[in-house]
Symmetry: D2
Subunit: 346 residues, 4 copies
C-alpha cells in the first residue's frame, strides 16, 4: 500500500535528522532561548526581508492558530474565515475554546475576497453581535488553491482600511510559494499581513511551525501566550534546528517543489484520463472526481481520503503529495489509474 493520505506520513528530511543527531548531547538553554532558535529566527527574518519581525516556533498548526488568534482578539471579537477554513472545520472548536466566534463565509475555491470580508462587516453592526476584528486565510487553502499577489493585496488593503488584523495560515505555504501559479514571495507576505506562519510539519520537518508577527501590538508578551496554552517546548532548540536547516541552502523551497512536481504528475495523468477536479489546484493537494468503482479499485493499492460524494456514482477524493513522496509511488498510481480508467469510465 502506498499512501497519498496526507503530507505528514513520513518523518523528516535526512539533513534535518542529521542536524538533530549532531546537536543531541550538547547542552542547550531550554524554552527556545537557545542559539539554534536565534539563528533560525535570523534566517527567517532575512528571507522575509523584515529584520524587526518577531518569530516564534511552535509545534503544530492548531496550536499556532489558537495562539495567534486568541492573542490578537479581545473577548467579544471574532475572526472571519472561509467556511472551508481549517479553524472553522478541523480544529475541534479550538478557537471557540479560547472564547472567540469564527465567522464562516461561504467562499469560492476556499479563498476570502474583499467582498466577502465587507459582507461580514456589514452584518455585524452593533454590540448585540460579535465584532469582526481579524481575517484568517490559508495559503494554500484547504482545497489546494492559492492566493495570487493581486488577491492578497486586495485582501490586505481592505483589512488595513477597516482595522482588521490579517493572519495567514501557512501550514502548506511551501507548496503555495513553489507552485507554477505562484507570484508571491515570503517578503510579499510579510509586507501584506499582520502575522503568518511557515509550516514545517508538512514540508520536511518532524514538526514545527514558524510564527511571524509583524504588527507591533501583537508582539509584546507572546511568550506568555505560548506558555499558557501549553505550547512552549522544553527542548525548544529542536524546533530551532529544524528551521535552521529548512532555511539554509534552499531546503524549504526544494522540498516543496518536489511535492508539487509529484502532484503535477498525478494531475497530468488524471487530466489525460479525462477526469475532472473539484478545485483547480496546482499545489500538493488534488481533488479529482472519480467513479466510485474506480475509487474502490485504486483503494486496493493506495490510501487516500474520501472528500465528498458528488453524485450517486461519483465521489471526490483527496490525493496529497509531500517532500517524501517517491516517483515510484506516483508512477504506480498513474499506471493503476490508466489501467482502470477505461473499465470504470462512464
Amino acid at each position: 500500500m502506498y499512501s497519498f493520505t496526507n503530507d505528514y506520513s513520513e518523518g523528516a528530511h535526512p539533513r534535518i535528522l542529521q542536524a538533530m543527531m549532531e546537536a543531541n548531547l550538547t547542552q542547550n538553554t531550554g524554552y527556545s532561548l537557545d542559539a539554534h532558535t536565534s539563528r533560525a529566527v535570523q534566517l527567517i527574518r532575512e528571507e522575509i526581508r523584515c529584520p524587526q519581525a518577531d518569530v516564534h516556533i511552535t509545534v503544530g498548526g492548531t496550536q499556532t492558530n489558537l495562539l495567534v488568534i486568541s492573542a490578537a482578539l479581545r473577548p467579544y471579537q471574532a475572526v472571519i474565515s472561509a467556511a472551508t477554513g481549517h479553524i472553522n472545520v478541523h480544529e475541534t472548536g479550538a478557537i471557540e475554546a479560547t472564547g472567540h466566534k469564527v465567522l464562516a463565509m461561504e467562499a469560492t475555491d476556499g479563498k476570502l475576497t474583499p467582498a466577502l470580508i465587507q459582507k461580514a462587516l456589514d452584518i455585524h453592526t452593533d454590540e448585540h453581535m460579535v465584532q469582526p476584528k481579524m481575517v484568517y486565510i490559508s495559503n494554500t487553502t484547504e482545497v489546494g488553491t492559492q492566493y495570487t499577489k493581486a488577491e492578497l493585496e486586495a485582501v490586505s488593503r481592505i483589512c488595513r482600511q477597516k482595522g482588521l488584523c490579517l493572519f495567514m495560515d501557512g501550514a502548506r505555504l511551501g507548496s503555495a510559494l513553489t507552485s507554477p501559479a505562484n507570484d508571491l514571495t515570503l517578503a510579499d507576505i510579510a509586507s501584506l499581513t499582520d502575522a503568518f506562519y511557515i509550516g514545517g510539519t508538512k514540508n520536511g520537518a518532524l514538526f514545527g511551525e514558524a510564527v511571524v508577527i509583524l504588527r507591533e501590538e501583537l508582539k509584546p508578551d507572546f511568550r506568555f501566550m505560548i506558555k499558557q496554552r501549553g505550547a512552549m517546548m522544553a527542548k525548544g532548540w529542536l524546533l530551532g534546528i529544524q528551521f535552521e536547516e529548512l532555511f539554509q541552502n534552499n531546503l524549504f523551497y526544494d522540498l516543496a517543489s518536489h511535492a508539487n512536481a509529484m502532484a503535477q504528475n498525478l494531475r497530468d495523468a488524471i487530466t489525460a484520463c479525462g477526469f475532472p477536479f473539484a478545485s483547480d489546484s496546482q499545489t500538493n493537494q488534488l481533488f479529482p472526481i472519480f467513479p466510485d468503482e474506480l475509487i474502490r479499485e485504486l483503494g486496493k493499492d493506495f490510501t487516500f481520503e474520501m472528500n465528498s460524494r458528488v453524485d450517486d456514482t461519483h465521489s471526490c477524493i483527496r490525493l496529497v503529495t509531500s517532500w517524501a513522496t517517491t516517483e515510484e509511488g506516483v508512477s504506480q498510481f498513474v499506471q493503476a489509474l490508466r489501467r482502470n480508467a477505461q473499465l470504470y469510465k462512464d
Copy 2:
C-alpha cells in the same frame, strides 16, 4: 411617537408591580431561597405537569442561554442552531465565550428540522471536528414562526435517538402558546425537551426567565453555574414574585393573547392593503415588506426596526406588539398605513 420596536419597551403588568410593592419591606432569604420563589416553582411544575422538574429563575435571555448550554456541554461539544438563532446572531458570541461552537444551519422560517439536525451530525464525524451534542430551538423563532406539536415531536425524536440534548429558548413562549396556529402546551414541551425556559421579560414581567430542567444529568449543581456566571440575584424573591403572579389566574396566557391579538390586527390591515410578509407569523412579531417611501412615512409617527433590504425600493421591517401594546397605538398605525398605502403602492 408610538413604538413597535420591541416587546420590552414598558415595565410590568400592574398586578406584578403591586405584588412587589406589597412584599417590599418583608425580610426575605436571599439568592432565590425564599418562599415566593418556592411557590413560583411549584406553580410552574403544576402547569407543566412535571413535579420532578428543576426550575430556576434568571434575569435575562442571553444569560439563560449561556447558562444552560455551558452546563450541558463538555468542552469539545457544540450546539446546533438555525442560522437565524438568537445565540448565533444576537448574543455577541456569548456561547463561544463559554468555549463552545454554535453549528449554524441554514433553515427555512427559522426552524430546525430532523433533516437539518441529521445533516449537522453527518458532517461531524471524528475528533478533528466538534461533537454536536445539543440542539437549540426558539419558540417563537426569531422570525415570528412557531413549532407545531408534530414538528417538535419530530425534533425531539431525533434528539433522543442520537443522544442530543434538546433545549428550547422560550423568550417569546407565551406568544407561541397563545397563537391561533398553536397546538402545543407547556406540558407537551416539558415532555419533549430536556430543558426550556419560559420568558417573563417579554410577557409582562419587569424581567425574569424561568428555566425548566427536565434531564436528570443537567440538574445537579446548576446553582453553582448560576452563581459563577454572575446570574444569581441577591434579591432573588423579586424573580419569584413575578412568576407567582404570571402563573396565577392565567396572567401569563392572558398577556400573551393580548399581544397576539394586537399583532393580528396589524397583520389583517397589512394584508388588506396588499403587502406581503417575509415570514408567516401568527405571533407578536410581524415582518411586512413595504415600499421604502411608505416606511419613511410611517417612521414619522412610529418606531420599528429595519429588518433587511428586499430590493432597490422595498425593505422588510419588524413590528412587535406586547402585553402593553394599546388598541389605540395599533389603530393609529392601521390608519396611517391605509392613508399612505395607496400613495406609495407600486
Copy 3:
C-alpha cells in the same frame, strides 16, 4: 425572627419603587439607551467630578466584577486580591471562568497595601508565571474595614508606578463613605482608581451597580462585554431610574448613614457588654466574637451568619444592617444581648 443576615433582605426604598411605578407604562428605549439612564449617568458624573467618565449600570456584583476584570486583562494576566476578597472566595470561580488567575495575598483586615502588591510583583518574574496587571480592592472590605484616603493614595501610587489597573469593588461603598472613619469622597475615588463601582443592591435599590470607568483603554466597546456576559438588561431603564433616585437629594448617602447608625448601636452595645470583635469595623458589617451558648440563645429570635470558629467555646458571627434595618429590630437585639450576656459570659 428579625434578620441581620445581610443587607439585601428587603426590597427598595419607597422613593425608588415610586419612581418605577410612575414610569411603568411609558415606552422606553431598551438596553440602557434611555433617558433615565442618561440622567443617572449625568448625576454620577457630577457627583464624582469627572465629566469624561464612562458609567454603565449592571444588575449585580459578581457580574460587575467579572465584566471589569475580563475587559481589562489579556489572557495571561492576573488580578491581585486580598485572600479574603469577594472574587477570591465567594464568586464560585467567576474570574477564573473568564480565564484569569486571582493572585490571593494574605492581608490584615482585608486590605491590600503597597507592600503586598509589591510582593505579588516580586514573585512573578517571567513568562512561566502569570503577569499581575490589575489590583482588586473592596471598600468596605469583606470584613467591614475601609480604606483611608492615605491608604488608597498609597495603593494608587504603586499601581500607577507599576502599570497596574486599580479596580475598587464598591458593593458597600455607601457604607464606607458615610462611616465616621471615612475621609474619602467619590471624587477622590474617581481620581485614584481606574475603575470602581457604586453598589445599589445593598443600599436601597432593588438591584443595580453603577460601574465607573476612568481609564481610557478600558472604555471602548464595554457594551460588547456587557452583552456577551449576559449582563445587558432589556429594560435597562429600570437600572437608570434607581440610580436617578439614589443620586438625587442625597438618598444614596442618607440610606447608608442609616445602616451605619444601626450598626453603631449594635457595636456600642456589644462593646458595653465586653465582647470583642474579629475586625475593627465602623461600617454596616460587624464581626463580634461571642460564646457559643450566647449565639445559640440569640439565634432563637434573630438570624445572622456564622463567620468562623474562634476556639472550642467561642465563634465569630456576622451582623449586617441596611437602609431598611429598623430601630426596633436593633433595640430588640440589644436587649436580648444584655439579657443573656451575663448568663453566658466566661
Copy 4:
C-alpha cells in the same frame, strides 16, 4: 560551563534517536493512530498491570496538565494543589485559562496530605464557592521530595471517600520510582490514582508524556480534548517510538537511576562539606543552601537556577541532574565545591 540548570538541556538517549532514524521514511498513519503508538500503549499497560487503562501520549507537561484537568472538571469545579504545585506557579495560569480555579494549599515539602485536602473541602461549602473536585499531586514534587506508598494510599483513600479525582503529575516520575526512598511501583500508582502521566521529556526522550487514564468517566472522547487544545501531533508516531524504546529493556528506569546516582554524588559532597538543604530530596533535584560568595564562585563554571534568598548572605540554589549528566560534570562540580567550601564557609 556545565549546566545543572534542568533536566532538559540535552536531546534524547541514542537508542531513541536510532529508532526514530530507522522509522523515518516508513509511511505511518497520522495523529497517533499508528503501530508504534499502539505498541507503546501496550507496553505501558503491561508495566502498570492495567490492561483496561487508556493511554495517550502528548508533547509536554503543561499541555498534559491542562488537558487532564479541563477534561475532568465541570465549569464551576476546582483542583486542589500544593501551593508549590507546578500548575499553581509555573504554568502561566494555564489551568485558569481553561476556566478552573486552582485551590492552593500551603504544604510541607511540597506534598498534599489528607488533612490539607480535608481543609480545602471544609472551607468550600456551598454554591457561592467553587467545588473542589480534583486533587493534583506531583511525584517527584517541585521541591524534589516524593510520596511514599503509605502517603499515596492515604491521599487516594480520602479522594475516593469524598468523590475527588486524583491526578498525579509525573514529569519526574522516573526519578521518583528509582530513588532509594521509593516504595511505589507504576502498578501501585495505577491502582491508587484516577489519572497520571509518565514523563518522557525529562527522562531520555526528546519530548513526550504518557497520560494514563484509569477512571472510566474520564476516558470517553479524550482525543477530542487533545485535538481541541492543539496537543494532537500530526506525526504522532514520533511519540509512540520514544515510549516504545523507554519501556523496552528497562530504559526508562535505567535512565532515571543514572540521574539519581549523579544527584546522590552531588548530595554526598554537599553534605560532606557541611551545607544544609532546603528540602530532603533523594531524587534528581537538589536544593542546597550556600553562602552567596560560594554561589558566585560556582557560577563561574556551572549554570544552575537561583531558588530563593535564605538570609542576607545565603541563598538556596537548584541543582538538577538528568539521564545525560556526565560523571565528569559532577566530578568537576564536586571539586569546585570542595575547593571553595573552606574559603567561603561561615
